[in-house]
């Protein structure tokens, strides 16, 4: 095939993407070397001062990063387990199969911030239905949003509600595309449902699982909308994630230079850690 044509197909998309992104990325790197803040809003050059500050004198960023890791890994594990279970159930014939499939998909179609606004009224400590119903059972009001530990779990609940459907969709699409022969063979051998899952379904689903988990980890690491509306990082800094901390530094305190340092460092850490996670998962799940 003619040599030139392939570029005609590829270049419009590639150049539009690069064209839009090149400025922000170069600008972020340059900005991270400047002391741009509300007192001196200019692109001066202060070398790696910001980076030294980040690595020696900013425990809050690292705390927010570990909090983010905890939140995203926990939510993704929960989403994977629940999503897989749901997908397994509606994969085979079951009453109202299509109804359940639609219901299980609905949350991912809803706007996270908007649903979080609803969740906030839902978990309201005196006027929300959760504490009211629990109160009916004799449970003391739970401080869903103002207790530093419980607030983390509230964020997890909302995230799991919002994004389990995505996991469910990817896994169900995977299940539906599996070849039939291995299952027939297992049925002839008279394997129990449990053994069938461990020796047939799960290994066949391993590559799809890895893909789904990585995609969800990428998206979960950006967790921001939920935190922003539900708790605003609070109480204190109990639910503050990296993105939210960068937001506070950059767009509330206007320490643009330092926020750019945080952004760039964060991006590098994310790319490295996601690559490592992808490699480790591939090793763990595909043994043979």
């Amino acid at each position: 095939m003619n040599f030139k044509h392939k570029f005609v197909f590829l270049f419009p998309g590639l150049f539009v993407l690069i064209g839009i992104l090149i400025f922000p990325i170069i600008f972020t790197i340059r900005l991270s070397l400047s002391g741009w803040n509300s007192y001196t809003p200019e692109m001066n050059f202060i070398g790696i001062t910001n980076y030294i500050r980040l690595f020696t004198d900013d425990p809050r960023f690292w705390e927010s990063f570990f909090r983010l890791s905890f939140l995203s890994v926990t939510t993704v594990i929960l989403q994977y387990v629940i999503g897989f279970a749901l997908a397994m159930i509606v994969w085979r014939e079951i009453k109202f199969k299509r109804f359940f499939r639609v219901i299980f998909l609905v949350p991912m179609m809803t706007t996270p911030v908007i649903m979080t606004v609803i969740w906030r009224t839902f978990f309201h400590e005196s006027l929300g239905p959760v504490n009211d119903l629990l109160g009916g059972l004799g449970v003391k009001p739970i401080l869903w949003l103002s207790d530093p530990v419980i607030a983390k779990f509230t964020v997890i609940i909302v995230e799991v509600w919002q994004w389990t459907p995505f996991m469910f969709l990817l896994l169900l699409a995977g299940l539906l595309s599996l070849p039939k022969e291995p299952f027939l063979a297992a049925a002839i051998d008279g394997a129990s449902p449990f053994r069938k899952f461990v020796y047939v379904t799960f290994p066949l689903m391993a590559p799809i699982s890895i893909g789904a988990i990585i995609i969800r980890l990428i998206e979960a690491s950006k967790i921001m909308d939920t935190v922003f509306v539900l708790t605003s990082g609070g109480p204190g800094t109990a639910t503050e994630t990296s993105s939210f901390y960068i937001y506070i530094k950059g767009l509330r305190e206007f320490q643009m230079g330092y926020a750019a340092t945080l952004s760039f460092t964060y991006l590098v850490i994310m790319i490295i850690s996601l690559t490592i996670i992808a490699k480790v998962l591939t090793k763990l799940m595909i043994k043979e």
Binding site: G13, I20, I114, L127, P129, A173
Partner: protein, 282 residues
Amino acid sequence: MSKFYTFLKYFFITFWTVFVVAPFLWAVSTSFKDFQSVNSKVTYIPWLDFEPTLEGWRVLIKSPAKGGVDIVEPYFNSIFVTCTASLISIVLGTLAAYALSRFTFKAGFVRNNDITFFFISQRIMPPIVLSIPFFIFLSTIGLLDSLLGLVVVYIVLLMPIAVWIMVDFFNRVPKELDETALIDGCNPYQAFYKVVLPNSIPGLIVAGMFCIIFGWIDFFFAFILTFTEVQLLPVKVVALNSSITPWWSLSASALVSVAPLIIVAFIVERYLSKGNLSGALK
């Protein structure tokens, strides 16, 4: 054993269904309440627990001058930005995906997979990292607080999704299809347009739906990059939350905002059950 398993199965999906539906039911109920029935004690069922009122829904279409919320304009803004950005992303993304699936690229150590990864990796970028430079970038070219500016930004969000889905999809469309078309005297563009595209409708629909979902649900860029001239739906609803929090109009506007995409859930399910999605989503 098997009875217990069946019980467990139905218990689990019933529990999950209730969990999924609960916030919607609560929102529907709240949208018909007034000040009294929200603030005195927790109420659930209209007529039984409280006297329903349409006030929460009425303020949605009133103009702000009369104490209304006016979400009509943000609604159309959201539709415009989402659809335009999705369309551009799909067109450019599909072309690029076709190239990456059919031709071999070599530039130094860069291969096809690396280019595909470059496209998809843009999803790793947290919105906050991009929002500060975009803020300055758009204000330099005068597109801050405008629909066009948002479309430009949303292309970055959506094109990776289009490329991700379409590369996998094209890899499943047999190569013989284009080869036959070329032998029949088509040039590569005709082969793509007349033969490959018509066979890729399911993939295009899935990619389109994903772009629309992820465009419609974005909040952060709209929140940072627009102020008064242009407002998108999520920003408008969240702004309601931070003011005096009238729960009834909040719930009503939330329901109106999430309603259109619920239809997408039905379309996705249909493709899933027909088996078209499995190819497109792996």
